[in-house]
């Protein structure tokens, strides 16, 4: 047991061999300062200098001349590492439709560092992520985690990072058909958590009953009701957002984070006044459901202008909302601001919305910007990081240069020429 722990420590720990200097690049720090030419020095996995500094003798130099340097992308929300193939395979651990548990489901044992989406997402410059389970049987989805995408056996950086709940159309559907049913389930869940916290000895033992939480679920909601674990609430409609903000009247300690919020711009002042951060997509502009009638690509720009803290993100999937495309989503907010009547983000705000802002939302105070003392989560890009044509040429996490090969690059290399030589393509070349 002791040996196992030591082994994990050794393999997970960054190699602190030497100083790394990333020189000559155009550096965008993830803060509100505009990009400038600068050198970045990294020692012991941390950033020790940013600016016009000399390269120490013996430093490993990464020449970024003509390239861009940014903090690693932080996925404000995702399911990376929970699934290899989403549909119809046992590799998908995001949802558990037939489990008697819900709020107590914890993603940690499902996290798989070898899942292909980890490498594929890392290759695109994502270095940290929040990973969430999916609510199915009750409105509570369970406990999410924060992870690193560093190559290695263990992804986990923070367990029990948040609880997931559905309180919009999806929540209504799960709870039995209406929003009041979803709120009843919510109040019941939090009441059970309070009961349990108040008197653990007298709390009833496990009695699986329809639409009732188990002891494990109630236990998982205790830190939520006590404000020690954030509650990520999925809602889209303006009135639903207001209903969620009002929950604090009864549960003053709740640490709320909204996800979705397609109509957030309609109640942006209220969200800002409540100091509730939002994780939203930048490309939602259809009345995809009745709860999203006012969706517009100006949503994020308008919320930010009203003072709301907004990170770009969604639960994500393998189609249009891939976590690896966060820079594209951010770039589109810049485009939206250039449209007559559209409201978007500035370039630095857009980069921040996928780096420093999500890091701040999650209390990851040691990453998300290129600043002295931060973890050396750094990406070197072959062009403007928000541009469609750009891609990382180097990804560092905790100062360690990461592999960028994936299952997909291996497939590509196999089929880039379709010649049949002496053996089928499936043999090594």
């Amino acid at each position: 047991m002791k040996r196992l722990a030591l082994l994990l420590l050794l393999t997970a720990a960054p190699v602190f061999a030497s100083t790394i200097a990333i020189t000559g690049g155009r550096v965008a720090t993830g803060t509100d300062t505009p990009p400038t030419d600068a050198t970045i020095l990294i020692r012991d996995g941390r950033i020790v200098a940013v600016g016009a500094v000399a390269v120490p003798a013996g430093a490993t130099v990464i020449d970024a001349t003509g390239k861009w340097v940014t903090p690693g992308i932080v996925a404000a929300m995702s399911r990376v590492g929970l699934s290899e193939v989403d549909e119809g395979t046992p590799s998908n651990d995001a949802a558990a439709r037939r489990s008697p548990f819900s709020a107590g489901l914890d993603v940690v044992p499902a996290l798989n560092a070898a899942a292909s989406p980890i490498a594929v997402t890392r290759q695109s410059g994502v270095t940290r992520a929040a990973v969430a389970p999916e609510a199915t049987r009750t409105i509570f989805g369970g406990r999410g985690a924060l992870i690193t995408l560093a190559n290695g056996p263990d992804l986990l950086t923070r367990a029990h990072a948040f609880q997931v709940v559905e309180l919009g159309e999806q929540g209504a559907r799960i709870a039995g058909g209406s929003r009041p049913a979803a709120y009843a389930a919510f109040e019941e869940g939090l009441a059970e958590a309070r009961d349990l916290a108040a008197n653990r000895a007298r709390y009833r033992s496990f009695e699986p009953r329809e639409a009732q939480l188990t002891r494990l679920d109630a236990e998982a909601l205790v830190p939520v009701v006590e404000g020690r674990e954030p509650l990520v609430v999925h809602v889209e409609r303006a009135s639903d957002i207001l209903s969620v903000l009002r929950l604090r009247q009864h549960y003053p300690a709740l640490k709320l984070i909204l996800i979705g919020a397609d109509e957030g711009w309609l109640v942006a002042r209220e969200i800002a006044a409540a100091h509730v951060p939002v994780i939203a997509l930048s490309l939602e502009d259809r009345p995809e459901e009745f709860e999203s009638l006012a969706a517009t690509k100006s949503n994020i720009g308008r919320m930010v202008a009203a003072g709301v803290t907004v990170a770009i993100g969604s639960y994500g999937d393998g189609t249009g909302n891939q976590t690896r495309n966060l820079p594209q989503f951010a770039g589109n907010t810049v485009a939206q601001g250039r449209l007559p009547g559209g409201v978007g983000l500035s370039w630095t705000q857009a980069l921040a919305s996928i780096t420093s802002v999500p890091a701040k939302i999650w209390g990851m105070t040691d990453t998300g910007t290129l600043s002295i003392g931060k973890r050396a989560d750094v990406v070197v890009w072959d062009g403007d990081p928000l541009e469609l044509a750009s891609a990382p040429v180097a990804v560092l996490i905790d100062g360690v240069v990461q592999p960028l090969a994936t299952r997909q690059t291996e497939l590509r290399d196999r089929y880039v020429r379709l010649q049949h030589d002496t053996l089928p393509l499936q043999y090594p070349k």
């Binding site: 193939v85 395979t89 594929v120 309609l266 006012a294 393998g318 891609a391 997909q408 590509r412």
Partner: protein, 473 residues
């Protein structure tokens, strides 16, 4: 006013065709009545909206056929592209748009959309894309499910989409007929139909049909079941065609009466249309090995696949697809959402292009359709990183001319060529940049979208009175 005059003209034409009263003498023998299957019982009622002669000059022009004019110009006249080049003639009275720093391209054509049949909002009541009641539903037509008030059409035009092909879903092996639309709103689906475009037959390989029917303990439950059901259907269609061909010949020879005509089978009408080359096969198929099976099957029964859709593994058989002259309609980077998409790679589109095969960027998605240019840009860059350098003006073919070929409308639209439809997009920047958006969109020479002019941004009936009405989307 204009419509009224046109109506009167039609009436006059109709009067002129009325045959004169028969003379009593010299009645020629009437040709035998030949029963036939109407080719176009739901004809297009689309009409182009009025435009003005317009010259857009000073833009970077991609003509959609692989050429580029820096500081080039296009003239639209009478609804058509009249001239394209470094400079064009400017007739007196023409509207002139100075477009320095902007890009001008042919309108984007999405060969795979479910707008109207799976509209927004996604409610069960309007979910009309899959007639999943039997694996062969060749008799259904997507156009009969289209809700012309789908707000998705207005989002698509803001993304520069001027023509789109609406397909039934992929639950069935034979999903039914697809229809090509001009992206101009109408009161009916017929108002939107691209005049004269051939219908398609949507077919599907792989996981969806076998899952949908296998779960009902019904054939097909496997991929071999898929092909078997397909082949029986094609065999029956060949038989149906023989009966009709034989009857038609005999009727023409005066040897068959109308009552001898075969009973119409609507599903077989569609399959026979394919065998007769009047209906194009659009085949949902992810895996390379399955595409090869379909190609062999098409040879067995004498039809041609126009385009494989999704075609996530086309890069594995790009040489075969080039040889067969079959297009691939692809996403830039979707993968891993189901087993048959597991081997998706970002270089799929450039690898297919590089093999000399026809590459198309498609959406299959009401959001993706709004930025097909961005998807093409990602694919272009992925190709460049492995040494496949394709000029952007060449890559634009993935977005307009190649889908036009896949729909057999490339003689009318898909590129900026004199005489083709005036389907044009003016972009406020390089359309392969994430920062660019469509600024103006012309369809048949009329401005149907203008980002700067609320009067040229449509609101569907559904959105009237809703909180999002008329907003910049």
């Amino acid at each position: 006013m204009r419509k009224l005059v046109l109506g009167l003209a039609l009436l006059a034409a109709a009067c002129a065709k009325t045959p004169p009263p028969k003379a009593a003498s010299a009645t020629p023998p009437r040709p035998a009545e030949v029963v036939s299957i109407p080719r176009d019982p739901f004809p297009s009622t689309y009409h182009a909206y009025p435009g003005v002669t317009t010259v857009i000059r000073g833009a970077t022009v991609y003509d959609g056929e692989g050429h580029k004019f820096i500081g080039g110009a296009v003239r639209l006249e009478n609804g058509k592209v009249a001239e394209v080049g470094q400079t064009v003639a400017i007739p007196a009275g023409a509207t002139v748009i100075d477009a320095a720093g902007k890009w001008l391209t042919p309108g984007i054509i999405d060969i795979h959309s479910h707008l109207g049949v799976y509209p927004s909002p996604a409610v069960e009541a309007n979910s009309d894309g899959n007639e999943a009641t039997g694996p062969n539903r060749s008799e259904v037509w997507a156009e009969h499910s289209i809700w012309p008030q789908d707000p998705g059409f207005t989002r698509a035009i803001a993304g520069g989409v001027t023509t789109l092909h609406i397909l039934p879903g992929s639950a069935n092996l034979f999903g039914g007929r697809g229809v090509t639309l001009k992206n101009v709103l109408g009161r009916t689906a017929q108002d939107m139909k691209f005049p004269g475009a051939l219908p398609s037959l949507k077919m599907a390989c792989g996981e969806n049909p076998k899952r949908v029917y296998g779960s009902k303990n019904q054939m097909p439950a496997t991929r071999m079941g898929n092909i078997a059901v397909d082949r029986q259907a094609w065999s029956d269609a060949v038989n149906y065609k023989r009966k009709w061909d034989d009857y038609t010949q005999r009727a023409k020879d005066g040897k068959a009466k109308p009552t001898d005509a075969p009973r119409r089978e609507l599903a077989n009408d569609t399959l026979m249309g394919v065998l007769n080359g009047e209906i194009l096969v659009q085949n949902h198929c992810y895996r390379a090995d399955e595409m090869a099976n379909v190609i062999a099957m098409s040879h067995e029964f004498g039809y041609k696949v126009s385009t494989f859709h999704h075609a996530v593994e086309s890069y594995k058989i790009a040489d075969l697809l080039a040889k067969e002259g079959i297009c691939s309609a692809m996403w830039a980077d979707w993968w891993g959402f189901k087993m048959e998409s597991y081997d998706g790679i970002r270089e799929n589109i450039p690898l297919v292009h590089n093999a000399g095969a026809c590459a198309i960027v498609h959406s299959d998605d009401p959001d993706g359709i709004q930025r097909l240019n961005q998807e093409a840009a990602k694919a272009l860059a992925a190709g460049r990183r492995v040494g496949i350098v394709i000029a952007p003006e060449v890559a634009w073919q993935w977005l307009s001319l190649n889908p036009a070929k896949g729909l057999h409308i490339d003689d009318r639209t898909g590129s900026l060529k004199a005489g083709k439809m005036g389907d044009v997009v003016l972009w406020n920047g390089d359309p392969f940049s994430v920062y660019a958006r469509a600024e103006k969109v012309w369809i048949d020479g009329a401005v149907m979208y203008d980002a700067a002019d609320p009067a040229r941004r449509a609101t569907t009936d559904f959105e009237l009175g809703q909180p999002g009405r008329g907003d910049v989307k």
